[in-house]
Symmetry: C2
Amino acid sequence: MLGFYSTAFSQSGYGLWLDYEKVNDASILSDYQNQIRSVYFLGESETLNLAREELKLGLNSLLGSSIDFSSTNSNNASITVATFDQLERKTQRKLKKIDIAKDGYYIGHDSGKIVITAKEDIGILYGVFNFIRLLQTQQPIDNLAILDAPKIDLRILNHWDNLDGTIERGYAGKSLWKWQKLPKYIDQRYIDYARANASIGINGTVLTNVNANAWVLTPSYIDKVAALADAFRPYGIKVYLTARFSAPIEIGGLSTADPLEAKVQQWWKTKIDSIYAKIPDFGGFLVKANSEGQPGPQNYGRTHVDGANMMAEALEPHNGVVLWRAFVYSEHDATDRAKQAYSEFVPMDGKFKENVIVQVKNGAIDFQPREPFHPIFGAMPKTALAMEFQITQEYLGFSTHLVFLPKLYEEVLQADTYQQGKGSLVAKVIDGSLDNHKISAISGVSNIGSDLNWTGHPFAQANWYGYGRLAWDPYLDSETIAEQWLRSTYSNDKDFVKPMTDLLIESREAVVNYMTPLGLHHMMDTDHHYGPGPWVSELPRPEWNPTYYHKADSKGIGFDRTKQGSDAIAQYADPVAKKFEQLDQVPENLLLWFHHLPWDYTLSDGKTLWNSLGIHYQKGVDQVREMKKVWEQMSPYVDPISHKEVSMLLDIQLHEAIWWKDACMLYFQKHSKLPFPKAMEKPKHSLKHYKSLKHPYAPGI
Amino acid sequence: MLGFYSTAFSQSGYGLWLDYEKVNDASILSDYQNQIRSVYFLGESETLNLAREELKLGLNSLLGSSIDFSSTNSNNASITVATFDQLERKTQRKLKKIDIAKDGYYIGHDSGKIVITAKEDIGILYGVFNFIRLLQTQQPIDNLAILDAPKIDLRILNHWDNLDGTIERGYAGKSLWKWQKLPKYIDQRYIDYARANASIGINGTVLTNVNANAWVLTPSYIDKVAALADAFRPYGIKVYLTARFSAPIEIGGLSTADPLEAKVQQWWKTKIDSIYAKIPDFGGFLVKANSEGQPGPQNYGRTHVDGANMMAEALEPHNGVVLWRAFVYSEHDATDRAKQAYSEFVPMDGKFKENVIVQVKNGAIDFQPREPFHPIFGAMPKTALAMEFQITQEYLGFSTHLVFLPKLYEEVLQADTYQQGKGSLVAKVIDGSLDNHKISAISGVSNIGSDLNWTGHPFAQANWYGYGRLAWDPYLDSETIAEQWLRSTYSNDKDFVKPMTDLLIESREAVVNYMTPLGLHHMMDTDHHYGPGPWVSELPRPEWNPTYYHKADSKGIGFDRTKQGSDAIAQYADPVAKKFEQLDQVPENLLLWFHHLPWDYTLSDGKTLWNSLGIHYQKGVDQVREMKKVWEQMSPYVDPISHKEVSMLLDIQLHEAIWWKDACMLYFQKHSKLPFPKAMEKPKHSLKHYKSLKHPYAPGI
């Protein structure tokens, strides 16, 4: 018996990291209660009203008592909340040296009172959410001086949501957007979604799939989009749409979408003006062009620059932007797929208009468990580059596997491109500081759907949360994020927080080990990308086949991207390229990404490549076993239904980690003809069995 | 501002009619508290444990205090709950004359104590839910003597859910079944679903779409189905599957699915045995064969009897049933579509095996806002007939329009077929009492999906609830159901219950008036069936066109099903046929179903048909306006978020009722060439405008 609705519902995970439970540590609670007795909250606006209600909800719930709120009497208030220009003169004077950046806030003290202030209303909302987080995570509040602001301007979710409600690579149910009932019906969930995003600083959302549908640009859909924009606006969230490049033909009645044709330019201008007439703060367009069958300027012999600039020109008067994706690769190009985006885009550096941002996936292939950072980062100094992370786990076990992605994001953001010398971190490219860009952006491909808990796996909420936190501050470390999320979502008990933080951090390496260790990549089965398919070799496009990537044969395994191979390494700045090129310097966890090596190649620890491969797969399995063990010990800190839920998912994850190990090692053994290393558990089934497994209705396709 | 999650969530509707709130009438509460102080609850089984926990939850929540439960000490218990054979000897003696039928229960008194008893464990669970309903609806409990049992054996939901998670005619999100995560992950929602169904007596669920997919019969899916069956079993719910007739070819490797071929019979026998090996209480198959492109026995020159009996024979040793749908119509048959199912099935009466149940839609066309009862009812006395109602609102405004369907169901169940003389109600056909069948069944096409509130429209929950209540007792009246649902879901305040009961009852006639008054039918736009499309005439199959059904021309409107026309009326028993045939006797609300009449035909109230048509459409619009007005007054009894939610939906419903009126009347005016009646508000737009409206991504297709 799993239990009842009445308990189940409050434990469904719908509340995310925002279920404010009363502080359970008596001494901390009493400290908070002593310090917070009343709030002086100034100002009226949609956003300020939300901030006030949020603070009221947070304080009342966390402190377990009703806190007095006043907008007239500041005398006995323990907290003052107001935009800077509304603060009392003497407080303004004291804080005048504090320079609060755009969207930022300051939390400090003045004459024994806590002050939360900001320049804009939205800063107040962000400040309130951050103040609540302090209490949720049981931090001391007696000596606060927090000056905080987002380091990236546009902090965006990309929803790959189709108009029929399906979600490409969605593993948490259906799209949140109920198009048929819009614009008149505003689902409460839209509000709850906006609130959750605001709580972590996300300020933009692309509503539709990059594999775009022109219908969303028709007037009746624009009305629906406008209704969503209205619902999100008080939370500081702008809406964006994906623009299908051939829309002028499909819904405009034109015979061409050539970006250099005046009538096409006029069509986009008129269309964009009509959008802004309904949505004055519309964010702009995200465009996937000439990639995987999507139409684009190249259909007319034009370039990405021609296409992007045409849209940018029409958006510019409204302060809209174009996010133009660099995710392109062509079946007509026989060179290494990993090289193609760089080859195509880097020569265009400096040619894009200022409101064009080129959006680049974190790695040069496609959201693998581990990839080296994309060589474009740092290589287009005259172009604003946005990072595109995937939050939804397309290649990482869907919403079934527990994988804490901020660890992956951190690895990429902290990577040093060396493009302007040592310290040219990817994070500095993205936040614009390396090359002094006026605008900066980051996108995360959403893992949100209609499931009660939003993300399918309860722990996938941490990836939404962590993405938002890193979009706000790309220099945050993943341990801090893990700890804050765990404290806000489950428990502040140190016997929970410590082992679970370790578990989250470890979970990313676990999935790399049991799926694609040592730099292997793209070995997932066809279409659905769920489960192993290293044997797949007969898809029509060569670079869709796992065999293209691992190149296992009787001699060895790995993709040679050195000078002797595809020379993809040459796309990196010299110090990086040198490191990747040399076998004694290349990081072992990227070894087979860059090198094709014999099965008996000896690694730094003295093991052969073949044995090490088996040992890594085994380690991935063992890590999941350890995660299960740790989780079993967490039952005192988690309600029984949620605990059981994660246990069931970990059981599947373990089962599938073994599946990965067995299927891959059995397949590679066909080539290596070597016995499995002793440390590796014997496969449970035959290769034939694993090859026979079919997943005809896997979600997300 | 719509409000916050923390309040929003408890008001999301997830709790259905089972959110047990403390009784708010002080005198009733104190009466209950006096009568209920402790419970003596006997027995241990999965089902009894659920019943105990449910009663505990219900009493503690409704009475606002912790009730003592004991399984050892009966002395001071105010309620005794036990199966009959576990009751104390003296209680048994007192109750020995009470004959509790299968699945039934008795709630009565013994020596001042309340006794809830039953023969089987599931009866106890049903009794507990019914006892809780008494308290929820604030009924007196001091003199109880309730002997209750379901009148229909198999009370089934039909989920038209596809394996990819979409739902045909689903308007409340995605399928609940997370196939990818099954069998190891049991979503808490499965439990909550089973509990809700058990609370209204539903005891079967067909997991898959009647437009079936053979894959669900493969071993890996049977494991998944078995996991769902395990989750539902304690709640007394059996699982059924749809069987694709061509499965032996598609997944069995055979070259034929001919039901008279031994290898086909053997394939089904083996398949069915393998299902029962995993699911010993598997319910059986629901089959749509030779209908709308589905394969069936006729592909091999065989009959429905051949097909159904083949499956029935293999299911019989396991006590499984075949639900064989009578929903068939052929484009090769030029006769009236309304006649075809009767013509095809009635001659087969007596030829089906005893474990075959022929499942018949309530009317001869397809779930219209109003249809006369299906002429098959009562016309196949030697065959068990199941009723198929549609709970999901395919032709009734999706999950956007508020329509209380139990009123529709009641109208059909109470219809008199006269097949065995006066009093041969459809309800008696269905419950088997008219023709003394051993088995009886009823199916409702589910309106349940992944939406937080399960059914999209909060009031669509009433249709799930009402279907269940009528499946239990097809003689219940819809007012009682409406009142019980309103009290359980919202409020017991009489100023709420009375006007809202009236609103629910009225809502069904409203939709008939603004969509298809006076017996019109099937005027919905193509494919999606949303919104009016009376002009549609060019679909490849004649009977897919609205013009086929309304036959409007310069002379008049309506489908002539009299002797002069298709003579479909002859399929009814004589007294019914006579009534339908004669213009002075046919019910006005079915007039144009049976008769083609001139525009100036005079109705009983002296109005012309044309004017009456306009007045009916207007009345539908006015009724929705009135619903809006009533709802506005209900804000004291409903939380603000839920109130706002329904208000938004009523706004859309009103807008669309006007759309229906305008589009249909403008179109019909092209034929009648008559001015609109004065009482009818002028159309807002032109016919051209209404014809131009497109709904390319309407849900549920």
